[in-house]
């Protein structure tokens, strides 16, 4: 027998009341979940933003950055306890909502939460501000004078739903800048930010009253325009299409941060393919490809493998294929839409036909389904993949020369997982940087960007604040206005 369970996937200030609700229905193994959220009008949005802004004004705005960090840390500490009820809730529901494997979600979630401990938040603030206290008050500058950073009063976030957790990062950014938040979630993953807001509520009720998080259908102009009109800054995650549509609606004077389409890849030198190292290299790469089914823009879609190691690039492709097979047994890939599955079938067909005609291509793939696919290319090159654990392996005689193939994709490039001898690091990093890469990381760590990283090559907090300077002669000249001056 199946049980029906209703789950609220929204978090709004207590004073907001709704009468109309919508539902998304998701079927679990034994339970049918009714995900409930309010049906909104543009007036609701405006009212909600007025409320969170007022709550910010009366509370959040007067907290020090240090106090905010403490409070976030307390909420994060809760999540680091395996028995914390909301963590268990997330571990139970996220696999049902997203289709991702249970164990994978459990592991990745706790790894991710650890990146927001107090020490990491401090690091993150220090990375961008010489003195994070300038978010609280005017602070002296080395060049003289004083400066203070003002965050936006209200922030409107548009979240994507491909990878659970990214929304939390964005919410924390808003809190550190003392901004009231309206977060629009995607129905493909609407839950985690709401659960996190509930944890903040357990720590500090008034703090949580500055947050409103809820889903609506992306592209609903009436609601989005109301949100933009009432926000001081906008952050958008998602496809280039989503980003472009939003860009046209945000007035030029509002800070507008976007995290659009990106692709990542790996570069494996022969030094990482010695008899004692090759297996570990492949094992780690298989993880990078498999975590969250490659849906994150941090996951690799192509790999350059250098000739001259203990195994050839072709053997590398074959061993990687069996490793992906093993990973799938351990943590099966999510069920795909017809479009996603056919994209993989088409990729396989196209390269199998090339292989039949004697081209230097091989396809290694799961036999009975689309679970994993490795396309091996004898010639160096670069290609995006249809994701969901499908990868291109390009054989390379010389990595320093062949990485040039990434150049046409410049505007889309993001991370490069690099495994080469130390003396090659800077030559390669320089080239990769020139061609558009903005993050060089270890193989096996591709999906775990470190706290304080320059997301898509830019700043995070700095791009949202307005810095106010008091010039040095002002403070000196003002001394003359002191009635008590000599």
């Amino acid at each position: 027998m199946t049980i029906a369970e209703e789950i609220s996937i929204y978090k709004v200030p207590k004073t907001m009341a709704f009468t109309q609700f919508s539902e998304a229905i998701i079927e679990g193994e034994r339970t049918v979940y009714h995900l409930k959220y309010p049906s909104l009008t543009s007036d609701d949005i405006q009212q909600m933003m007025n409320v969170v802004e007022a709550n910010r004004e009366s509370y959040l705005a007067s907290l020090t950055t240090q106090e905010i960090v403490e409070k976030i840390d307390q909420a994060i500490q809760k999540w680091l306890d395996p028995d914390y009820p909301l963590r268990r809730r997330a571990e139970q529901l996220l696999p049902v909502i997203t289709g991702y494997d249970k164990d994978m979600v459990r592991l990745e979630l706790k790894k991710y939460m650890r990146t927001f401990r107090k020490k990491e938040l401090l690091r993150f603030l220090d990375e961008e501000f010489d003195q994070p206290a300038m978010l609280d008050e005017f602070r002296p500058r080395k060049s003289g004078g004083m400066s203070r950073a003002f965050g936006p009063n209200t922030l409107f976030h548009v979240f994507s739903g491909n990878v659970p957790g990214v929304q939390i990062w964005s919410l924390i950014m808003g809190l550190l800048l003392k901004s009231a938040t309206l977060g629009k979630t995607s129905l493909s993953e609407p839950l985690l930010p709401v659960l996190f807001a509930q944890s903040l509520e357990e720590v500090d009720e008034k703090l949580a009253e500055t947050l409103a998080i809820l889903p609506w259908k992306g592209g609903t102009a009436e609601l989005e325009n109301a949100a933009i009109a009432n926000a001081d800054a906008v952050i958008v995650y998602g496809s280039n299409k989503t980003v472009e549509t939003m860009r046209q609606r945000v007035p030029l004077d509002k800070p507008f941060l976007t995290y659009g389409h990106k692709i990542s890849f790996a570069v494996i030198g022969k030094e990482a393919l010695t008899p004692d190292l090759y297996y570990e290299t492949i094992y780690k790469l298989a993880e990078d490809i498999s975590i969250y089914d490659q849906q994150s823009c941090l996951a690799p879609q192509s790999v350059f493998v250098e000739q001259g190691g203990a195994i050839s690039p072709k053997q590398f492709a074959q061993i990687l294929a069996s490793e992906l097979g093993r990973y799938h047994k351990k943590r099966p890939r999510a069920r795909l839409t017809d479009e996603e599955a056919m994209a993989i079938q088409k990729l396989r067909d196209r390269y199998q036909f090339e292989a039949l005609q004697g081209d230097q291509v091989e396809v290694y793939a799961s036999q009975t389904n689309t679970a994993w696919t490795v396309v091996y290319h004898e010639e160096a090159g670069f290609e995006g993949s249809p994701l969901n654990r499908s990868i291109h392996i390009f054989s390379s005689e010389n990595l320093e020369r062949d990485v040039l193939s990434i150049k046409p994709y410049q505007s889309l490039l993001q991370s490069c997982g690099l495994a080469v001898a130390p003396d090659r690091l800077f030559t390669l990093a320089d080239r990769l940087g020139h061609y558009g890469v903005n993050r060089i990381c270890s193989v096996g760590e591709m999906n775990s960007a470190k706290p304080g990283w320059h997301h898509d090559g830019g700043f995070n907090l700095l791009d949202l604040v307005r810095i106010v300077d008091i010039e040095r002669d002002v403070e000196q000249k003002m001394e003359a206005f002191d009635p008590d001056v000599e």
């Binding site: 491909n162 995607s186 036909f353 995006g384 994701l387």
Partner: protein, 378 residues
């Protein structure tokens, strides 16, 4: 043609001749279909080298395949990248090509050494699904005929329909300059005045231009009872169902032909037979109209799970594959890129499977090619 080719086409023609009219319950022809399909598979495996290699990669050979469902269907991409022909391609009578606008070098090609099977395969089902109640009819054609487009299977089909089933008044209205709207209007007026039923035939979009013209000039026709409208191809956009319903409404408003006087044909360059909805057939016989699509006894359509490529159950959706015995020279099994739903009376076509949408910041390859490098899909 070589002797083996003559032999296999004889066997297929015999099968077609036996079942050329009507809709046959799958079970009644299952054994004969299976026998001939396996014979044809063996023939294609031996004579079509790229197909043989394709089957070997999938570990399917005439020795291991005992049921037609185990014959590997060739993805339509294969008709673009490979030369799929049992007979030498230099000696073929006709080559039908897909329109493939993005890359002319990668058009899908289906080679026909001889058109006798193709013609035989066209005639019976056309009679069954388009003219169940008549022997011949006045046919007006809105799309190019064979002489204008030698490599189009649709043009060949339209010409053959007029030659075989058209009365003396039948005409083609598409010439070098496009559709002759005025000519068609005059001819339709004549038919309406003579109270003579007419069959309009054309690609779905060809009607849209003509209807826009009629709307602009405020012209409507009261076509005689028994008139009917044949369309093929459908709309490509996301709102295709809505667009089809709007089109049917316009057919009624401008031609006085109701929904039950319309038939949609589903054909492909990569196939040699056609599939139809059963509207005209069932409307002429019973009160309960079936719109689901089906084909003749020598075509079996299966809906496959997109992840496993195993057949789905009734009511489920998946990618459409056809097994067409008339496709004797290339591959009898064809894996399309169309999405369909299996039903009790056949299947419902849900449209072309679109490129996969990225769920977030990550991007899939086909979108990448489209949006950022300015290239089309390969």
């Amino acid at each position: 043609m070589r002797e083996a080719a003559q032999q296999i086409t004889q066997d297929i023609l015999h099968f077609i001749d036996h079942y050329h009219l009507g809709v046959h319950h799958p079970k009644t022809v299952e054994t004969e279909f299976n026998t001939l399909a396996l014979e044809l598979f063996r023939y294609q495996f031996q004579n079509n080298l790229p197909y043989k290699k394709f089957c070997q990669v999938r570990r399917r050979t005439p020795l291991t395949v005992k049921h037609w469902l185990d014959i590997p269907p060739m993805p339509i991409q294969g008709f673009k990248q490979l030369s799929l022909s049992c007979e030498p391609i230099e000696e073929v009578r006709a080559v039908f090509m897909t329109s493939g606008t993005t890359n002319p070098e990668l058009k899908g090609k289906n080679y026909h050494p001889d058109l006798s099977v193709w013609d035989a395969s066209m005639e019976g089902p056309f009679k069954t699904f388009v003219l169940p109640d008549r022997e011949e009819m006045t046919i007006f054609v809105l799309s190019p005929a064979e002489d204008l487009n030698k490599n189009s299977s649709l043009s060949r089909y339209l010409t053959h329909a007029v030659t075989t089933f058209g009365s003396d008044h039948s005409r083609f209205f598409f010439n070098e300059n496009g559709l002759d709207m005025e000519g068609l209007i005059d001819a339709l007026k004549d038919c309406a005045e003579r109270n003579e039923p007419v069959l309009l035939m054309g690609a779905t979009f060809s009607y849209v231009h003509f209807l826009d013209y009629l709307e602009e000039h405020q012209i409507t026709f009261q076509l005689a009872k028994g008139s009917r409208i044949f369309d093929t191809g459908g709309f490509k956009g996301q709102s295709r169902e809505v667009e089809m319903e709007q089109l049917y409404a316009r057919f009624y408003n401008y031609f006085n032909v109701g929904r039950n006087g319309c038939v949609n044909m589903y054909g492909m360059t990569e196939m040699s037979s056609q599939i139809y909805d059963q509207t005209l057939l069932t409307a002429s016989e019973t009160d309960s109209v079936i719109r689901d699509k089906t084909g003749p006894a020598w075509v079996k359509t299966v809906i496959l799970d997109t992840n496993t490529l195993d057949p789905v159950k009734i009511g489920e959706t998946g990618v459409i594959a056809h097994y067409d015995l008339a496709n004797w020279n290339s591959c009898l099994g064809i894996l399309t890129e169309d999405l369909g739903c299996k039903t009790e009376h056949g299947f419902v076509l849900l449209g072309r499977i679109k490129g996969s949408e990225a769920r977030g910041c990550s991007i899939a390859v086909d979108q990448l090619l489209q949006s950022n490098l300015g290239g089309g899909q390969r």
